[in-house]
């Protein structure tokens, strides 16, 4: 474990940014934290988490997949992929770090999504423990430890110093470049912080929420549950939950005609939208109840069925604070799981 005095943090960030683009949570003009590219004078946000998740770094909201040149009846396909440059995401919370593992299970299984893989390989994740978890946090429900957030390097912020520990080779390589600004230290301060975090986690309102009632074998238990009707009744189908969700990865592929040809791009999509499954010959989910159910069944039943029981939610709580009708996965779990 190495530590960097708070006074030296700016120098440390500058050193990181010399070799790679560095992103960290910064308060925007809207007063909320957003991952922002570091430059001299940028101050890291004190907020618990960013409005949007960190999934954008690996799976951006929109990205070009390829170009086409169309002339008369002929088509030329232009592969526009480029090797991504190295980048560092600093201050990623434990929930978002776990979301990368969940996204990997989608995009890195055969056939590999090379757009995602390229960014994943060039991205270094510096995670940060949560000393002030909020009342919307429930990462522990999914076995995530906010005191041990994972990533390539884990960091702990204290009043006078920042503590860093490399967890992967990539992390080790980065940390070794910061040797002049850090010094070897014992784990006493970090151990104390971990104890404090766990104490605070114990006291959270959602500390007792469990996912035990859910899992890959629960299709028949919940699919036709009468509760879906009341749970989905007020859903606007706005898709906000999907967009702020670190694990939602449904996407659309569309073409855009430019002056020079056609760009094929992909963009985030939502199973909550009415035309998501609409085909020329019909739609297999015509009601908001069915679409609402799909989103939660996917996270709590279908995803674990295909991924050794791992749930498709990380308990970041973004949907709890953003849904315009205050519906969210916690209410769904409590209502269906019988501990309302």
């Amino acid at each position: 474990m190495r530590k960097c005095s708070t006074a030296n943090l700016d120098a440390l960030l500058r050193t990181i940014a010399e070799n790679a683009s560095l992103y960290l949570p910064v308060d925007g003009t809207d007063g909320r934290a957003h991952f922002t590219k570091w430059e001299d004078g940028v101050k890291m946000s004190d907020a618990l988490n960013t409005v949007r998740s960190a999934k954008d770094f690996f799976f951006p909201q929109t990205e070009n997949l390829m170009d086409f040149k169309v002339e008369g009846k002929t088509i030329e396909i232009i592969d526009t992929r480029e090797e991504c440059e190295d980048f560092v995401i600093f201050g990623v919370r434990a929930c978002d770090v776990r979301s990368f593992d969940i996204l990997d299970r989608v995009f890195l299984v055969d056939p590999v999504d090379t757009y995602y893989k390229n960014r994943r390989e060039h991205g270094i994740i510096v995670s940060m423990a949560c000393t002030r978890p909020s009342e919307t946090c429930f990462c522990r429900t999914f076995g995530i430890d906010a005191a041990n957030p994972g990533g390539d390097i884990v960091c702990y912020k204290e009043e006078d110093a920042w503590y860093f520990d490399a967890l992967t080779e990539k992390g080790q390589a980065l940390l070794s470049k910061l040797e002049s600004l850090t010094e070897e230290c014992d784990t006493a301060a970090v151990d104390a912080q971990k104890d404090l975090i766990r104490e605070r986690m114990d006291k959270l309102p959602l500390a007792d929420l469990t996912a035990d009632a859910f899992g890959g074998d629960k299709l028949n238990t919940y699919f036709n549950a009468p509760e879906w009707k009341s749970l989905s009744q007020s859903c606007l189908g706005c898709g906000t939950c999907t967009f702020v969700c670190p694990t939602c990865q449904c996407y659309d592929i569309k073409d855009f005609k430019t002056n020079k040809g056609v760009q094929r791009f992909r963009c985030w999509d939502s199973c909550m939208y009415s035309d998501f499954t609409k085909m020329a010959h019909g739609n297999n989910r015509t009601s908001q109840l069915e679409r609402f159910r799909q989103r939660f069944m996917h996270k709590l039943v279908y995803f674990p069925a295909n991924n050794e029981g791992i749930f498709g939610c990380v308990g970041c709580g973004r949907c709890l604070s953003r849904c315009p009708i205050s519906m969210n996965i916690v209410k769904v779990m409590k209502e269906l799981g019988g501990n309302a």
Binding site: L65, M66, F68, V70, K73, T74, I75, E76, I77, D79, R81, V106, F107, V109, P111, V112, D113, T114, Y115, G216, L219, F223, Q249, C250, Y251, D252, I253, K254, D255, K257, G261, V262, R264, R266, D269, C271, F276, T277, K278, M279, A280, H281, N284, R285, E290, Q294, M297, H298, V301, Y302, A305, N306
Partner: protein, 275 residues
């Protein structure tokens, strides 16, 4: 060949056959005249016209055809309307193959076969039927039940009349929904016709057609004593990626593009009723 599953190759339409008032069959090869890729019966391909869209179609030609691929396409949306207006020589893009094929070389091997199709539902089955005809000695007796709205809506009628019906050991049973001048064959819906024909259960059945036809035909087959494990079908849902990632064709824990489109009917019981 590129390394990214979402990036297609260029294909050229070298022949367009008008099958019915709303179905055309397109022959596709690469610009250098080859098949774009190999496939197995029941697999699909993504065809696209840049600027119009991309959509999934079953490959109707048999893998034993080494020269080109064929797609029987019904005009019913943006991409298909554009294709129906296209001319020979038009380039499109193609990627694939996608999905699990029919188990032609294992579960079907040595079996008597019963193919049941409705309308454009013959398109995916034609690949299997012609595969079975090509390797005729590997399979037992073959029955084909095929129905459509009218005589004019029968897909690829020439091949049915002049090739399938003249083959030894293949019985073709055609039906149309309503009486029509010039038709002296059977009249009635496919599910009822299957029950009337009363097949022995010593065979594997392969079903494709509109969802309602599949549902009633499966029930009819069960009345005849067929077990769901003897009946296969192929599903169609909205798809974008074709590789089980975009989420569109997700039903229960399955992705129709990757885990399907071919399913044994008992496997469908494990899926929620959303297809």
């Amino acid at each position: 060949m590129n390394t990214e599953a979402l990036i297609p190759v260029v294909g050229v339409i070298t022949d367009i056959r008008i099958d019915t008032p709303d179905i055309k069959t397109f022959r596709v090869v690469t610009p250098d005249g080859k098949k774009a890729f190999d496939h197995k019966p029941g697999q699909c391909a993504m065809l696209s016209i840049p600027g119009v869209g991309e959509a999934m179609f079953s490959i109707t030609s048999s893998p034993t055809n080494t020269e080109y691929m064929e797609f029987s396409i019904k005009k019913c949306g943006c991409v298909t309307e554009w294709l129906h207006a296209a001319e020979v020589g038009q380039q499109i893009t193609i990627r694939g193959p996608y999905g699990n094929p029919f188990p032609v070389d294992d579960a079907f091997a040595g079996k008597n076969m019963l193919f049941i199709a409705g309308g454009v539902g013959l398109a995916p089955l034609r690949s299997v039927i012609n595969y079975v005809r090509h390797y005729r000695d590997r399979y037992g007796k073959v029955d084909i039940v095929y129905g459509s709205r009218s005589k004019d809506d029968l897909l690829d009628y020439d091949e049915i009349l002049h090739e399938w019906m003249t083959d030894d050991g293949i019985d073709v049973h055609l039906t149309i929904d309503r009486e029509q001048e010039g038709w002296d064959g059977h009249v009635g819906f496919v599910p009822n016709y299957v029950k009337e024909l009363g097949f022995d259960t010593d065979k594997v059945a392969v079903l494709c057609g509109p969802p309602i036809m599949i549902k009633f035909t499966l029930a009819g087959l069960q009345e005849l004593g067929f077990d769901k494990t003897q009946v296969y079908t192929t599903l169609e849902l909205r798809m974008k990626c074709g590789i089980g990632k975009c989420g569109r064709c997700n039903v229960g824990s399955k992705y129709v593009c990757k885990d399907g489109p071919v399913f044994r009917c008992d496997e469908l019981d494990e899926l929620p009723d959303e297809y």
